[in-house]
């Protein structure tokens, strides 16, 4: 049965695929110096895909298509839009990175991974879920190790591959146990199978733990975060940005759907587990961030901490909780892309990425410094930037569900966060270059950087001030789970 609904449910993926094919055809005919234009093509194509999906691919009543493989609802749709936006921004940030910007295959790999993420967000079946997770991960392994002559990049790619393979093996084992216990792989049928009461709590807990290893790796919660700093530091910076935003959000999309749809009966056991993991993740992530001297490692550890904050919304197990997670991820994706984008724009000119090298940056390029301020204050949870509202919503959900202790842990952690984020801004605004000759070392921004960073910065401020529309969308997405 192939109806318009069936088609609409995978419209964004079809468009991404068409875009990939187009790049595949066009790119070889371009001269080497034109190849970077693939970035414009990718970003433009993705934005067109977003617009077309909004026009023709909006979900109505939640439906399951493709024989129970895909769930067509607002939850998946909103995440898809976020991923494609993040993909477009990443493609633009690729362009002026000498090592990957002129290589068409980098853009193709990005699109392939994006395809996987989109499917992750809508998978309604464990088989589909596993396939889409792998489709997402494998191109990212390659992209992380893309700079073959750079030892750190190679290490990053290999490390990511090893950890990723291990984690997905655990998850696959968990999936197979679920199938063994219930005889079905469809998420929406699992609920009924569990209701029959064929599974003891202990067994269910074991299964959930196995699955959590795989997803915990994707969203990098402690103790499955070990890969993140090394990979973020070694991988090309645009990839680090993509990994820490879209890839993490995709993990959350799966986490939310899986735990709310398939295992609500065991909520009591897994919400407490997740609450403890969330507290540990925030605390460990933040304490480790304190000692970092490299900006990419700092962002890596802080992104671990942010996974912990977002988790508070999952723990709350309410509609507001899910809404706040989605809102948090939307704000976080924009903010962290902006942060990585600024780092990229800076390192491209200066060639360094230690925190102390940022000294005097506000005199070298005041606008870039302002955008960095926007990103870091938003990460620290200050208004009028997205991070503040997002954090308040997550905390509100936590208090509503009675997890006041968890919210207090979150608050102590955001104070630590304020400290280290402001510490970086101290270098940017207060300290000066060794010879105080910043005027001789300007940081020019190329057009893709200027455009992307400006759009992201405005987006971060918009989410933080005019938050009703984003909240409405997040709410519509959350509604499909209840």
């Amino acid at each position: 049965m192939f109806t318009t609904i069936t088609f609409a449910s995978i419209l964004p993926e079809v468009l991404i695929l068409l875009l990939a094919i187009l790049i595949f055809i066009v790119e070889p005919f371009w001269k080497a110096e034109q190849r970077r234009n693939t970035g414009w093509l990718t970003a433009g194509g993705l934005l067109a895909a977003i617009v077309l999906s909004l026009l023709f691919g909006q979900p109505g009543e939640p439906q399951t298509t493709f024989g129970g493989m895909i769930r067509f609802d607002w939850l998946g749709f909103f995440f898809k839009l976020l991923f494609m936006f993040a993909g477009a921004a990443t493609a633009l940030l690729f362009m002026d990175n000498e090592k990957i910007g002129q290589r068409g295959e980098a853009y193709l790999l990005l699109l392939a991974s994006l395809l996987g993420m989109n499917l992750m967000a809508v998978s309604a079946d464990l088989v589909m879920l596993y396939l889409s997770i792998e489709t997402t991960s494998i191109p990212l392994y390659v992209l992380s190790g893309f700079m073959l002559k750079d030892k750190k990049s190679t290490e990053a790619g290999f490390k990511y591959l090893l950890f990723g393979a291990l984690a997905s093996a655990f998850m696959l084992y968990g999936f197979s146990l679920v199938f063994g216990f219930t005889g079905t792989t469809n998420l929406y049928q699992l609920v009924e199978m569990f209701q029959v009461g064929s599974l003891s709590v202990a067994a269910a807990f074991g299964v959930l733990a196995l699955i959590l290893v795989g997803l915990g790796f994707k969203v990098s919660i402690v103790p499955f975060h070990f890969w993140a700093p090394d990979v973020y530091e070694g991988a090309p910076t645009p990839i680090s940005g993509f990994l820490s935003t879209a890839s993490k959000a995709a993990g959350f999309a799966v986490l939310v759907r899986l735990f709310f749809i398939a295992f609500p009966q065991f909520a009591a056991s897994w919400t407490l587990t997740l609450a403890i993991l969330s507290a540990i993740t925030m605390t460990v992530g933040n304490l480790l961030t304190l000692q970092q001297t490299n900006i990419k490692r700092l962002l890596a550890y802080s992104s671990v901490a942010h996974a912990g904050y977002a988790m508070i919304g999952v723990v709350a197990f309410t509609k507001l909780g899910v809404t706040s997670v989605i809102f948090y991820l939307a704000a976080y994706i924009l903010t962290n892309l902006l942060a990585f984008g600024v780092v990229m724009a800076f390192s491209r000119v200066s060639g360094v990425d230690e925190i102390k090298d940022f000294a005097g940056m506000s005199r070298r390029n005041p606008w870039l410094a302002l955008m960095m301020l926007t990103a870091f204050l938003s990460l620290a949870g200050m208004p009028p930037f997205g991070g503040f509202v997002a954090k308040v919503f997550v905390f509100a959900a936590g208090v509503e569900a009675g997890y006041v202790w968890l919210v207090f842990v979150g608050i102590i952690n955001s104070i630590i966060g304020v400290y280290y984020y402001l510490n970086v801004m101290k270098y940017v605004y207060l300290y000066r270059m060794p010879n105080e000759d910043e005027e001789k070392h300007p940081i020019p921004l190329t057009r893709p950087y200027a455009l992307t960073l400006a759009v992201l910065a405005i987006g971060v401020i918009l989410i933080g001030t005019v938050f009703a529309p984003w909240f409405g969308w997040s709410d519509a997405a959350a509604l499909t789970l209840f």
């Binding site: 506000s362 005041p366 302002l370 301020l373 204050l377 200050m382 208004p383 009028p384 503040f388 308040v392 919503f393 905390f395 509100a396 208090v399 509503e400 006041v404 919210v407 207090f408 608050i411 955001s414 104070i415 304020v418 400290y419 402001l422 510490n423 801004m425 101290k426 605004y429 207060l430 938050f467 009703a468 909240f471 409405g472 709410d475």
Partner: protein
């Protein structure tokens, strides 16, 4: 009345900050002119609000309400009452005078005011000012927090970048962390109130006028009053959480010290009143003895520490702790006299301390020292600054005829009604204050000009003089005509008493 004056006041500084950021960085005087123009505009509007507030009607006026996120009951709900209208005026005044004295003197021998990157300075300062206006006029708890945080974080940059080289990094970080801890602790309390109200009434709303009627149980109020009140009171400089404040004052550039002591500390006291006392009145009654103890200690202890300082800025910083202690003391009485006094004292102290810091900044910029023993003879060099400082000093001592008397007298009356012993102990501070102010005036302004300062110390600029005159006129005017402010504050107090009595 359809002109949305309160939102225009709130967003004027923010829009001005954006415009200033867009200007090229080498057009320094144009940047300052834009800053001054928008500050004047905000001041005029706040004066207009103050004088067209209808005291006979009372209550909240100039109300604006826009649904911002109806799903969670968040709205942009603005309005001023007799308590907040003077504070809006105060913010306008401090903003205006702060820009005036930051203009400074580009002469390389003087280099007074802000000469390093004035564009960024004014942008951050105005962002802060917008946040302050926002807190004073917000009737929505969520937006109150929103503006409160906006008012806090630019302080870090302002102090760290333009502050006193020796302590600025330490002081800026200390201040930010203290204030952030306080505000997030209050935030959790606010969220708890939000949900309990939802359970009680079934209405999802952050609107404080709705929350007043939420009917929080006594146990709930007692449990959450302290976190909420103290969280905000940290910014009000309440003992024992006052430690960040003098350090911050000392490290901050002059205009920021003025903002910090003049307005930001009121922000803390005001939010503690509006969220702590007005929404949790039973909790306030239960804990008022503790707040009174803390405030009483702050009054005497702050004055004593100020007495032993040799650095003028530290002296004024600790005197702010002492005077803000009086505000807290007034709030803790929960009676009409005390609350009225606290309201007037917020305004009076704001103007007075802004003047103190302005004069100290002028002296420091020209003499390059703030150490009282190293200074002298300033009266001959900068008579305007000297006279201004003396008037400020008289206000600080609570002399009749000046605004300080109008404010402190009712506070002491109110405290006497509640607990006469505290009033007696707190009144010691008046003596100590008189001592350190007199000693300071004698040494800095009238003693012999030290050898080291001969020759290179010049007079202040015209703009500085305008700022001093503006501030002095307000203090003397309020002292001679208390009717300009006291009845207005009383209308605000009536509302608070209604909440305290009705609960």
């Amino acid at each position: 009345m359809n002109f949305p004056v309160l939102s225009v006041i709130t967003f004027t500084p923010m829009v001005a900050a954006l415009i200033i950021l867009m200007m090229p960085s080498h057009r320094r005087n144009e940047t300052r002119a834009v800053a001054l123009a928008s500050a004047t505009f905000a001041l005029l509007l706040s004066v207009w609000v103050y004088f067209s507030y209808d005291q006979a009607t009372g209550g909240y006026q100039f109300i604006e309400k826009y649904n911002w996120l109806p799903m969670l009951g968040i709205s942009l709900h603005f309005g001023v009452d007799g308590m907040s209208a003077p504070l809006v005026l105060l913010t306008g005044v401090v903003m205006f005078t702060g820009v005036l004295i930051s203009w400074g003197d580009e002469d390389p021998h003087v280099k007074a005011g802000i000469q390093d990157r004035p564009r960024e300075f004014f942008a951050f300062l105005f962002l802060l000012a917008g946040g302050v206006f926002g807190v004073f006029v917000s009737l929505d708890l969520f937006m109150l927090f929103f503006f409160y945080e906006i008012a806090v974080f630019p302080m870090y940059l302002l102090i760290a970048i333009w502050g006193w080289v020796v302590t600025r990094e330490y002081a800026a970080m200390k201040l930010t962390l203290y204030l952030f801890v306080g505000s997030v602790v209050s935030l959790v309390g606010a969220l708890a109130m939000y949900w309990v109200q939802y359970q009680n009434t079934g209405v999802l709303s952050f609107d404080m006028l709705v929350m007043e009627k939420a009917g929080f149980s006594q146990a709930f109020q007692i449990a959450w009053f302290l976190p909420v009140f103290l969280g905000f009171a940290v910014l009000g400089g309440i003992w024992p959480f006052h430690n960040w404040s003098p350090d911050g004052h000392v490290a901050a550039p002059t205009a920021v010290s003025m903002f910090h002591a003049g307005v930001l500390m009121k922000l803390g006291a005001f939010a503690a009143l509006r969220v702590g006392i007005m929404l949790l009145p039973e909790g306030a009654k239960y804990w008022s003895w503790l707040i009174m103890t803390f405030a009483g200690i702050a009054v005497v202890y702050g004055a004593y520490i100020a007495f032993v300082q040799t650095d003028m800025k530290y002296m004024i910083g600790f005197s702010s702790v002492s005077h803000m202690g009086l505000v807290m003391l007034g709030l803790s009485t929960l009676n009409q006299n005390g609350l009225t006094g606290a309201g007037v004292q917020m305004f009076s102290h704001g103007v007075m301390t802004a003047l103190f810091f302005a004069v100290t900044g002028m002296i420091y910029d020209r003499a390059h020292t703030r150490m009282i023993p190293e200074l002298g003879g300033m009266m001959k060099i900068m008579p305007f600054a000297g006279v201004g400082f003396i008037i400020g000093g008289l206000v600080s001592m609570g002399m009749p005829g000046f605004s300080g008397f109008v404010a402190e007298f009712p506070i002491f009356m109110g405290v006497w009604q509640t607990q006469w012993l505290v009033a007696v102990i707190a009144s010691i501070s008046i003596v100590i204050t008189a001592a350190y102010i007199m000693i300071n005036i004698r040494k800095v302004f009238f003693a012999e000009l030290p050898e080291k300062l001969h020759g290179h110390v010049g007079d202040i600029t015209v703009l500085d003089k305008i700022a001093i005159v503006t501030l002095c006129l307000l203090m003397v005017g309020l002292g001679l005509f208390p009717g300009l402010m006291v009845p207005m504050v009383q209308t605000g107090v009536e509302n608070i008493l209604r909440l305290l009595g009705g609960a």
